[in-house]
């Protein structure tokens, strides 16, 4: 008997009136876990009952603990008739099952009813006593931590990144069972909510078992989705990246404190093993030393160089200076072999991470994607979900082979999705082919602190800045050797270098020598699904780029339908890709990050929506412009029109370059063999689709041999396309937007954030819709939605919409639903006034001002958290300089005070961090599924009123759970599903929402600083030495 769950029902408040006669309620509570139910006494005639119950104790298996949610039902006692349910609370007790997360769940939870929404609140306390029993045959996986965050969570370091874990479970959908005809909508909804909660628990437990088998202790980038397959069932599937994580001890927490004291100090009060001595010992870092001793030298990988932030000063072992070019080849091979052996043990070398520890990502090949159209049929045996497993296995194989074709052994930023319409289902998977550093993938060879990004998001450096280059891999060895001679051009371009063989390219591509290091070849355009690596050198700012597309399709049944969809897919992919490429050119940029292409299937159309963040990578060549050419020469007016269009395009490009501050430095024409590339389109996107797993088509997106930046206007359609290119309106001044974690080129965030969800359903009302009119409608819909967001958030200017996530659904004929979740973050326009910020941040802001003179010293500092060489003399100096400051902070550290507000504030953000704050603890995963239904749609304010209230309720329930866990924020929040159905004639509507995220405790940096919070402009530096550091 490995666990005891204890529940206490304290009180209720604001209950609804259940007895019309008395205007009161006789409430009692049922507490159910598994098959055991307890009841409280009836608290008569009150809307604010005080039950103060005993502790209800459930003695259960830990397997059950993981699968089952705790169900709390509030009822109104009725002597003469059946008791009326007021509402329910489901509590996922998983966070209580691992030692580092929450220890108690205690707080006010909204009482939720699927028909009436939130009806009052209930105060509950939940505890779990676990008895360790390690010798059992384990069916449970208690203790495996789950994170939605797609990077190594702050305050952890990755010892090993094991790789891909996936699992799916299927069941019949209660809504489609025969019993649904005789039960109430409420009973049906609750059966569904409960089932999905159970399935999620089971899925998580099974994934956990796989992680334990891999000898990991955590899943990062955990993404769980539901497929509502209707008649054929309910699929809950999840993917993630298994890791072995280590909670950062004091020492490692301290190290970054040297350069960013205000930020790191707050680690102390929360640390489980406080060790103040290490603080006084100054910059020495025992942890680093340890990790050093752990890693025996390997000939091909130079551990010592991992700390070589100060490349010019520290001699490198095994570094062939000057001969790097020659060594590159063998090294590459060796590396490949190493990676291969590390990865080949895995069936799928996939990683759901989008941000990586420095040095992890060696090269990026490009986006790989695969789609497959399937016909759904009833799942006959839910215990053996082989069909669905096989479908996904097939797709993953395709992805794997695409990656191989790009010379890559791994896929990063990997994700999977589905789109279902009636019995047709499109399965999609995509990721970024990459070459990884094997060191991170094996047990016992980890070295250095893989602490992922600082709590403060470092952002990107413009030209000439570099953050702690961790020189693990041969490519940057080249660049670093170059660095030894030419300090001004540090690497940060390694990931851009092609991983595939130049002579045997998988697709026609135009290569040039890297504009950053001049040693390796780079493509002219790079598309990826990952976040921009922190070390990447970018020019100017990034921006959100979307490609939008509609394609009409005949209504058809079964096979015929699947075939017609399959036939349309390649064209859609092609057009989406072309649009993206053109829009990228139009903005004068050369790379896309966070690319997500969604193909949605409806009854009579397909929709494609691609979102990505465009950026100018300094390593890649300057993109050429866009030339348009007419098909019918000799026509004067036509020619005139064409030249008018051309001028408009050129103007737009010029305007965009100014808007996004894209001013790449003029390059001396000294590089041999790398002329400015001729504008020529080429694709990195390998895709395939298959209807029934037989054929894999590889699409050549290179426009044959044509010069692809020439757009030929050969018919009206093409003209429309060009027009539509120009309809994208840039955000109003003071706004930037991106769909990645951080906005390239902005890094001086201020703490104000606003997470929001916006949903629109529009009717594409056209009697005879054509692809063109649909495209235009869809385009307008997206643009108007963005416009509306900018207007709503105008008071936050200057601000950036980050992690803008569009989801498209086609709920009915001609109805398009778009849901957007994003976070608006304010930033300080005046970078020079960032006196409050820690030096690290300063250095980055400095860096982005392109002032190389100022770079040197802050550079050393900013690289510290990543480096592991405490003996480097240069570093010691810098640490000594900084340490008095750190101690000053330590002495004056104040305990963060709670807010006075009745309800504690819970921040929500789709990002993995909170600006100006440090995450001190992860409390567990939040994964919630709600159904809301109404039979009085008009009375509830119509569809908008209904959904508005429901989304607000979902937010409220997420916040309440986080607060009950003792947290004050949800990071990596995502609304995975929002399925809305209406029947206005019957005055009915139903909506399903699935959200997830990581509950955390964060501490404001300002609360830990010596001086009280001051306006940035007025804040003086606390000590003289700090002045040294920061100016």
């Amino acid at each position: 008997m490995p666990g005891k769950l204890k529940v206490k029902i304290v009180a209720g408040r604001h209950l609804p009136v259940m007895d019309r006669a008395s205007d009161l309620t006789d409430a009692f509570v049922e507490v159910k876990f598994g098959n055991t139910t307890f009841k409280t006494d009836v608290y008569p005639k009150s809307l604010n009952p005080q039950w103060n119950s005993e502790w209800f104790k459930f003695e259960v298996d830990d397997e059950e603990l993981q699968d089952e949610p705790l169900q709390i039902t509030v009822l109104d006692h009725d002597t003469y008739s059946a008791n009326d349910a007021i509402g329910k609370v489901y509590i996922d007790i998983d966070p209580l099952l691992y030692s580092e997360a929450a220890t108690v769940i205690s707080g006010w939870f909204p009482i939720y009813d699927t028909i009436h929404g939130i009806r009052g609140e209930i105060n509950v306390v939940v505890k779990v006593d676990l008895f360790n029993d390690l010798n059992r045959f384990r069916q449970s996986s208690c203790g495996v931590k789950f994170f939605c965050t797609t990077s190594i969570p702050k305050c952890y370091r990755a010892v090993v990144i094991h790789g891909f874990v996936e699992e799916l479970v299927v069941n019949e959908d209660p809504e489609y069972q025969w019993i649904d005809r005789i039960r109430t909508p409420r009973a049906s909804n609750e059966a569904r909510q409960r089932l999905i909660s159970l399935m999620s628990g089971e899925l998580q437990r099974k994934i956990g078992l796989k992680v334990l088998e891999m000898r990991g202790n955590a899943v990062v980038g955990y993404l769980q989705c539901f497929d509502l397959e209707g008649e054929s069932g309910l699929v809950v599937r999840a993917i993630g990246t298994a890791c072995t994580l280590d909670k950062l001890s004091n020492t490692s927490a301290f190290l970054p404190a040297c350069n960013s004291p205000s930020k790191e100090m707050k680690e102390i009060p929360f640390n489980e093993d406080p060790n103040p001595n290490t603080y006084s010992s100054g910059p020495s870092t025992p942890l680093k030393n340890q990790t050093y001793s752990f890693s025996p030298s390997k000939s091909y990988s130079r551990q010592s160089s991992s700390s070589d932030t100060d490349l010019s000063l520290t001699p490198k072992t095994g570094m062939g200076s000057g001969s790097a070019g020659k060594e590159g080849g063998p090294f590459k091979t060796l590396l490949r072999q190493q990676t291969q052996s590390a990865l080949e043990q895995r069936e799928f070398p996939f990683f759901t991470l989008t941000t990586f520890p420095p040095g992890f990502l060696v090269h990026v090949g490009g986006v790989v994607s695969a789609r497959s159209v399937k016909l759904l049929d009833r799942i006959h045996n839910p215990d053996e979900p082989e069909t669905r497993d096989a479908w996904w296995a097939e797709i993953r194989q395709e992805i794997k082979s695409h990656a191989k074709a790009l010379g890559c052994h791994a896929v990063v930023g990997y994700s999977e999705s589905t789109s279902i319409c009636e019995e047709v289902c499109i399965l999609s998977a995509s990721g970024t082919a990459a070459v990884l550093n094997p060191r991170f993938l094996q047990d016992g060879t980890m070295e250095g602190c893989l602490e992922q990004r600082l709590s403060w998001q470092p952002g990107f450096f413009s030209i000439g800045s570099e953050k702690g280059e961790v020189d693990f891999f041969p490519q940057s060895q080249d660049s670093s050797s170059l660095l030894g001679i030419e300090e001004a051009s540090p690497p940060g371009c390694g990931f851009c270098h092609i991983p595939y063989d130049e002579l045997n390219m998988p697709f026609p591509a135009h290569l040039t020598y890297c504009y950053n290091c001049r040693k390796q070849k780079v493509p002219d355009v790079l598309f990826t699904t990952i976040d921009l690596p922190v070390e990447a050198v970018v020019v100017g700012k990034g921006c959100l780029i979307q490609a939008r597309l509609c394609r009409l399709k005949k209504k058809a049944q079964a096979e015929a339908n699947a075939t017609s969809i399959s036939n349309l897919l390649p064209f859609m992919e092609y057009e989406v890709h072309t649009q993206l490429m053109n829009k990228l050119k139009l903005r004068g940029m050369n790379a896309l990050f966070g690319l997500r292409i969604q193909i949605t299937v409806g009854e009579n159309m397909l929709m494609g929506l691609a979102s990505a963040t465009g950026v100018y990578l300094a390593a890649l060549p300057t993109p050429g412009g866009i030339q348009i050419a007419g098909k019918t020469p000799n026509d004067g007016t036509y020619e005139q029109h064409i030249s008018h269009m051309q001028k408009k395009i050129n103007d737009t490009i010029a305007k965009n370059k100014e808007l996004y501050e894209i001013n790449p430095p003029e390059l001396p024409e000294e590089i041999i063999g790398s002329p400015i590339p001729e504008p020529r389109q080429r694709s990195r996107l390998l895709r395939s689709q298959s209807e029934s797993s037989d054929e894999v088509t590889e699409l050549d997106l290179s426009h044959g041999k044509k010069d692809a930046f020439v757009l030929e206007i050969d018919d009206t359609d093409a003209m429309e396309d060009v027009h539509s290119l120009l309809t994208d309106v840039p955000p109003p001044s003071g706004f930037y937007s991106c769909n990645t974690e951080i906005m390239p080129g902005i890094n001086n965030w201020t703490p104000e954030i606003q997470m929001f969800t916006a949903v629109r359903v529009s009717r594409l009302s056209n009697i005879n819709p054509t692809n063109q009119t649909l495209n235009k409608n869809f385009n307008d819909l997206c643009e108007n939605l963005l416009k509306s967001l900018y207007f709503k958030l105008r008071s936050m200017v200057p601000c950036c919409l980050c992690h803008v996530n569009f989801t498209v659904a086609l709920p009915e004929d001609e109805l398009v639903q778009i849901a957007v979740t994003a976070v608006a973050i304010t930033y300080d326009k005046n970078q020079a006034l960032q006196a409050n910020k820690a030096p690290t941040e300063k250095s980055q802001q400095r860096a982005s001002t392109d002032n190389e003179e100022q770079l040197q010293f802050p550079l050393e500092l900013s690289s510290d958290p990543l480096s592991s060489q405490p003996f480097s003399p240069a570093k010691a100096t810098s640490l000594e300089k900084a340490s008095p400051l750190a101690e000053g902070y330590l002495r004056h550290r104040s305990v963060p005070s709670g807010t006075n507000s009745t309800v504690s504030v819970v921040k929500m953000t789709p990002l993995s961090f909170l600006p100006g704050a440090k995450i001190t603890k992860y409390l567990g995963i939040i994964n919630m599924f709600f159904i809301r239904e109404t039979t009085s749609l008009r009375e509830e304010g119509g569809v908008s009123g209904f959904l508005h209230a429901f989304i607000a309720e979902v937010f409220a329930m997420v916040r309440a759970h986080v607060a009950a866990l003792g947290g004050n924020a949800v990071v990596s929040y995502i609304m995975k599903q929002c399925v809305f159905m209406e029947n206005p004639n019957k005055n009915q509507a139903q909506c399903l929402i699935n959200v997830s995220g990581d509950a955390v405790i964060f501490v404001r940096e300002s609360e830990l600083e010596v001086l009280p919070v001051q306006p940035p402009a007025a804040a003086p530096q606390p000590t003289g030495s700090a002045g040294d550091v920061t100016t």
Partner: protein
């Protein structure tokens, strides 16, 4: 292409003060959009009418959902549905309960328990507050402040409204038209402050909104000041000798003292009868303020007179109600001084 469904929900609830104002003023979405357009938001933000409409609708929906909570402001603080920073919550409540003084003036003294003016939100607020504190003990304004989280001045105004509604004072007569809501509110405050049970004993049994029966009963004892001819004469001579040379209207005072004193004492004596209570302010104006005004008393004259008039009975032999008298006169003095203007 029409948007059937269009919502925006922030983790922190967005509150647009301008739209809130428009909503409170009872404008429809279309009217609100029109007004916002006239405000020039389109030019400032470079946006479209459609965006403005969508934004206005979002705000209106939010306000409609918030309204239920605004009816019981402490719930706004405890609720979990909308995450609103405290200062914004305070603003929402304050604006919601703010009222037009002209309207409040009109409604003063009318019955609030019955729904007479359904269409007015402000009237609903009066009724809601009235209902909530009707039965409560202790200082009215403090009760209101606690139950509705209003800023103290606003809570005091509401207390006045409740007080007037309870006592049903007549305020609508033409000769009372020169008095503003503020005048009456100040009077109500003085009366509650000096006369209510709460003013004497915090653990009072009766709500502050009702004047304590025993006190009103006791006021009859004061009639001796005008019914006993000796006392009246002595009272007059004490006051006149104290004021001689200090007051510009000494002759008029001397001539009118008995009439004034009768009026001042009788106003209190009549308070036990509900019908006569109604005439409290009418009497004060008709029998005190108007005569003084026609004799051109200055405010200073009146203040000086009332001070000595109140103090003098202390020296009257056989008058044993000085404490009661001073408690009574404290409120009367405050009311008269407040009301003594054009």
């Amino acid at each position: 292409m029409s948007s059937d469904l269009d919502v925006f929900v922030g983790n922190t609830t967005l509150i647009d003060e301008e739209v809130y104002r428009l909503w409170l003023d009872g404008h429809s979405v279309a009217e609100a959009v029109a007004r916002r357009l006239r405000g020039g938001v389109l030019e400032r933000e470079g946006t479209s009418v459609a965006v403005l409409q969508s934004d206005t609708r979002d705000h209106y929906r939010t306000f409609q959902m918030l309204e239920r909570l605004l009816h019981a402001p402490p719930r706004l603080l405890q609720q979990l549905l909308f995450q609103i920073p405290p200062e914004r919550q305070a603003l929402l409540v304050q604006r919601y309960y703010a009222f037009d003084e002209a309207l409040a003036r009109e409604l003063l003294g009318k019955k609030l328990s019955k729904g007479t003016k359904k269409e007015l939100d402000e009237f609903d607020n009066f009724k809601r507050v009235f209902k909530a504190v009707e039965e409560l003990r202790g200082p009215l304004a403090e009760n209101i402040q606690q139950l509705f989280l209003l800023p103290p001045p606003l809570a005091r105004d509401y207390a006045a409204i409740v007080f007037f509604a309870n006592s049903r004072f007549e305020t609508g007569k033409r000769r009372l038209q020169f008095l503003s809501f503020g005048d009456f509110a100040a009077c109500a405050q003085s009366m509650m402050g000096h006369w209510s049970q709460g003013a004497l004993a915090p653990e009072a049994a009766e709500p502050d909104g009702d004047l304590p029966k025993s006190f009103l009963q006791d006021l009859k004892e004061l009639k001796v000041l005008v019914s006993d001819k000796d006392l009246l004469d002595q009272h007059k001579s004490l006051v006149c000798s104290a004021l001689r040379g200090k007051i510009s209207v000494y002759n008029e005072l001397e001539a009118n003292f008995k009439a004034l004193s009768r009026a001042l004492v009788n106003v209190g004596g009549k308070l036990t009868h509900a019908r006569d209570v109604r005439d409290f302010f009418v009497d004060l104006v008709e029998k005190v303020i108007e005569p003084c005004r026609s004799d051109k008393w200055s405010l200073g004259d009146l203040r000086l007179f009332l001070t000595h008039y109140t103090a003098a009975p202390r020296n009257l032999p056989g008058f044993r109600h000085q404490a009661l008298w001073e408690r009574y006169m404290a409120a009367i003095t405050a009311c008269l001084l407040r009301m003594y203007h054009d």
